[in-house]
Amino acid sequence: MLKPILLVEDNPHDLELTLIALEKSQLANEVIVVRDGAEALDYLYSRGEYATRQKGNPAVVLLDLKLPKVDGLEVLREIRGADGLRSLPVVMLTSSREEQDLIRSYELNVNAYVVKPVDFKEFVRAISDLGIFWAVLNEPPPGSQRYVRPQN
């Protein structure tokens, strides 16, 4: 099985469009959706709702910058400070192209920073490129494991 993609997105429209885009890219990877930073961390640390999930890190985290509760930068900082998560690929997926956001993300060693294109075709292409690169082409760090769908 392929490693899952962790999508952190609070906006339902963005979520839907992103899922459609991933679908259009015909990636076979499972997409785990969490709706805010806290939930993302719960997933990554396998705690709370995700305490029983299959061990292993996702292939990539697609992380929205603006999030309720714990925002994208804080999630990124947490990941980079945690032993088992430090080398996890994280892509900032955001509407903001503000320089300060870019700088802060790169200071926290983000793997990529992608501004969501306005044009849907471009959006689909961007998401598809991302998915293919990180979920298929990229050789993930040791510790990432094939995904097994959790039993509800």
Partner: protein, 752 residues
């Protein structure tokens, strides 16, 4: 500068008088005698005219007691008056004594302790009784009664002169004031006609040497009874206790300079008396009394005159204070109204122009000018603009400090000779510490004549003239016409001007603070704007993106089965949404353009153009576009910004050639002196040159929306980028036959 001819033989430089030892003449006037006692009461020095007054030579009394010298009864009468605490540095009246029964003559005895000795001065009197001070009080009372509060200094001086002439019987009493240069100016005169009048005349400063002035200040009254006197020597000739010549500064009988006696004889006055007028600790002037014949004024009357002089000095002090206060109040009143006027508007120099009349009044000037940066504003009677400019240049070079003033500019600044009539006097106030900003007041020439009692220009004597020490011999009026001077600047005006300057700098400072506040406010507004643009970029883009996305999905899903109308609506939604998104992006990059700092590096323009063309191929798919790119020179610039500018220009060209087949787009570049010039030209629709000035403005569109899409920010971005590099943009078009956009980048970037 003098128009009249001196009628007298050249007089000689009397400045050597300053070396005369007037405090230690070694002799006394012979109308009395002196006995000097040491601390034990022994006579250690006596004047050699003892023989005339006492019938014995000094040798007969030296070493003995006072009683030995003047007899026991007289000594006994004096003794109680000679207690230590009673006798000070200034002579005080001790007693009137008679030395022998058969003699009519008696002596007023004055005692003072100075220069280690107890000096007893015996002034011979013709009257029989003791000195009587009782008439002193009515005299002083009378004088005070005659004075009115409203009297001018001249009027008060006249009253004092009359009073003193009455008391002393002198033929002529003058009251004169020293000006700043030390010349004496006769303010008041009381004259019985026996001597010529000197009212209004001036005595040159050299008439009274410096050390004489100091003595006048120390010892307030001096009498010379007879200018023909033969001085009586002190025996021994030096103070036996100090071994140095006696300091007779306070001795009433002190002998005066032979030069002065000659001066008196030349002047035709055998007796003279002067009373010092001390105002605020300074020798303000003198009451100078003259008599054609010799005449002695006894101590009591002298005391009365001294008192009167002190009262006059006090009245002068208060009068001057009151006048000064009045003057300052008036100047201040004007200053306040000037300052009020200055704060009215925003432009300092224009405000200054509006208060010119008050400015003139403030400094009692005939003309004024203000110079700020290169602007010079003149008002009233002033030198012309180029003269003012030159004068400011000179001031800037040669004056330092808060204020420069002169009532004789031409003596310091020769070119002022060209505008004496309006600017003999100058008050210049620098109103900036950094720039050559000045406020100038001009005072016109005040041509006046001075009547000198003798030629004051003693130094004009021929250099080969004998330089013997000799007073001048003529006091005939010598009239001088003064040119190149203005009315003098009053100290109150100077002080007020300084205060005014402080206030002005205060205003300037306040203005600077306001500017700082404004800048701070702008900074805040800018921050808000950034926040705004951030939220526009981030929050507004999202829904727009959604509209586009869902429209696309809808369009896809609808396929051919859906109504055309519905499709068209959806298409419209999509297009407008896309445009809105692009607008936001462009706005954001435009606002970033102003803030982001340039990171200039060497830029290969050929590569840059190639990458832009690659990016544009999507837009030109299905079109026939010919790119003609010359061999472009390298530049030093911020590559990201330059690429954006270039991309904007090229996409513009692509856009406006959409109806051409083939579309021809050229990019050329060349070095041109200090800059590199690039042209982007096309064969598109071009634009109307009437609107060329609008072309590079934000949100300016020269075409209909349905024909060519665009947010109208692209060219504004181009201009901003190029100007931040220190270059220029321009565009030309011959409507319908394409357009050429040109931009330049300097070979050396501005340091900013």
């Amino acid at each position: 500068m003098t128009s009249s001819t001196p009628q007298v033989n050249p007089t000689f430089d009397l400045s050597s008088c300053e070396q005369e030892p007037i405090r230690t003449p070694g002799s006394i006037q012979p109308h009395g005698f002196v006995l000097a006692l040491d601390a034990t009461g022994r006579v250690v020095q006596a004047s050699d005219n003892l023989v005339q007054h006492l019938g014995k030579p000094p040798a007969a009394v030296l070493g003995g007691t006072l009683a030995d010298a003047i007899g026991a009864p007289a000594a006994a009468a004096l003794q109680p008056e000679l207690q230590d605490e009673r006798v000070r540095e200034r002579p005080s009246f001790a007693a009137t004594i008679r030395l022998s029964e058969k003699d009519h003559c008696c002596f007023d005895v004055l005692a003072h302790r100075y220069d280690t000795l107890l000096m007893l001065e015996f002034e011979a009197m013709t009257r029989a009784g003791a000195a009587d001070f009782r008439h002193l009080y009515p005299l002083v009372g009378d004088f005070l009664q005659q004075l009115n509060d409203s009297d001018t200094i001249e009027q008060m001086s006249r009253t004092a002169a009359d009073e003193i002439r009455t008391v002393t019987g002198f033929g002529r009493v003058l009251v004169y004031k020293f000006d700043e240069e030390g010349h004496g100016h006769v303010l008041a005169e009381s004259n019985d006609g026996s001597l010529p009048s000197y009212l209004g005349q001036r005595f040159p400063a050299s008439d009274i040497p410096k050390q004489a002035r100091e003595l006048y200040a120390a010892n307030r009254i001096r009498l010379i009874s007879d200018a023909n006197y033969t001085p009586a020597r002190l025996v021994p000739p030096v103070n036996p206790l100090t071994g140095a010549p006696n300091d007779l500064s306070f001795a009433a009988l002190r002998s005066v300079s032979p030069i002065h006696l000659q001066y008196m004889r030349n002047m035709g006055t055998l007796a003279s008396m002067s009373v010092s007028l001390m105002v605020k600790g300074r020798l303000w002037g003198l009451i100078s009394c003259h008599n054609a014949a010799a005449c002695h004024i006894p101590f009591d009357k002298r005391t009365a005159c001294e008192q009167l002089g002190q009262i006059l000095a006090l009245r002068i002090t208060s009068r001057e204070d009151a006048d000064e206060l009045q003057f300052r109040l008036e100047v201040r009143r004007v200053m306040v109204s000037v300052l009020a006027g200055l704060t009215q508007g925003a432009d300092f120099i224009e405000n200054m122009g509006s208060v010119f009349p008050e400015l003139l009044q403030f400094a009692r000037a005939g003309g004024a000018a203000v110079a700020v940066d290169d602007r010079i504003l003149r008002y009233g009677d002033t030198p012309d603009e180029s003269q003012v400019r030159a004068l400011i240049g000179w001031l800037d070079q040669h004056t330092h400090g808060d204020l420069y003033h002169t009532d004789r500019l031409v003596e310091h600044y020769l070119p002022a000779g060209a505008f004496l009539h309006c600017a003999s006097g100058l008050l210049a106030m620098p109103i900036s510490r950094i720039h050559k900003h000045y406020l100038l007041w001009f005072r016109p020439e005040f041509v006046h004549t001075v009547d000198w009692a003798g030629n004051p220009h003693a130094k004009e004597a021929p250099p080969d003239a004998p330089r013997q020490l000799s007073p001048r011999t003529s006091f005939a009026t010598w009239r001088e016409t003064i040119h190149g001077r203005s009315a003098p600047w009053h100290p109150g005006e100077i002080e007020m001007a300084l205060e005014f300057r402080t206030a002005l700098l205060g205003i300037a400072l306040e203005r600077a603070e306001q500017m700082a506040e404004l800048a701070e406010e702008l900074g805040r507004a800018n921050k808000e704007l950034e926040a705004f643009s951030y939220s526009v970029s981030h929050d507004l883009r999202a829904p727009l993106r959604h509209i586009v996305g869902f429209s696309d999905l809808l369009l896809e899903a609808a396929g051919n089965d859906t109504l055309d109308k519905r499709q068209r609506f959806l298409k419209n939604i999509k297009e407008s949404a896309r445009l809105a998104g692009k607008l936001v992006d462009d706005l954001l990059s435009f606002s970033q353009m102003g803030r982001a700092s340039l990171r200039p590096v060497r830029v290969n323009m050929n590569e840059l153009v190639r990458s832009c063309v690659d990016k544009l191929t999507l837009d030109t798919q299905g079109r026939h576009v010919q790119w003609h790119v010359g061999d472009l020179p390298e530049i030093v610039a911020d590559p990201t910004f330059i690429q954006l500018a270039l991309y904007n220009l090229l996409s513009n060209a692509v856009k406006f050639t959409s109806q051409r087949d083939p579309a021809i787009i050229r990019v050329d570049g060349r070095r041109d002196g200090t800059e590199t010039v690039f042209d982007v030209s096309d064969n598109g629709v071009g634009f109307n040159m009437d609107y060329v000035h609008k072309l590079f403005g934000v949100f300016q569109r020269l075409h209909r929306m349905e024909d060519f899409q665009g947010t109208g920010i692209g060219l504004a971005n181009v201009r901003r980028i190029v100007e931040r590099h220190g270059g220029r943009v321009s565009a030309t078009s011959s409507g319908g036959h394409g357009a050429t956009f040109t931009f330049t980048i300097p070979n050396t970037l501005p340091s900013a």
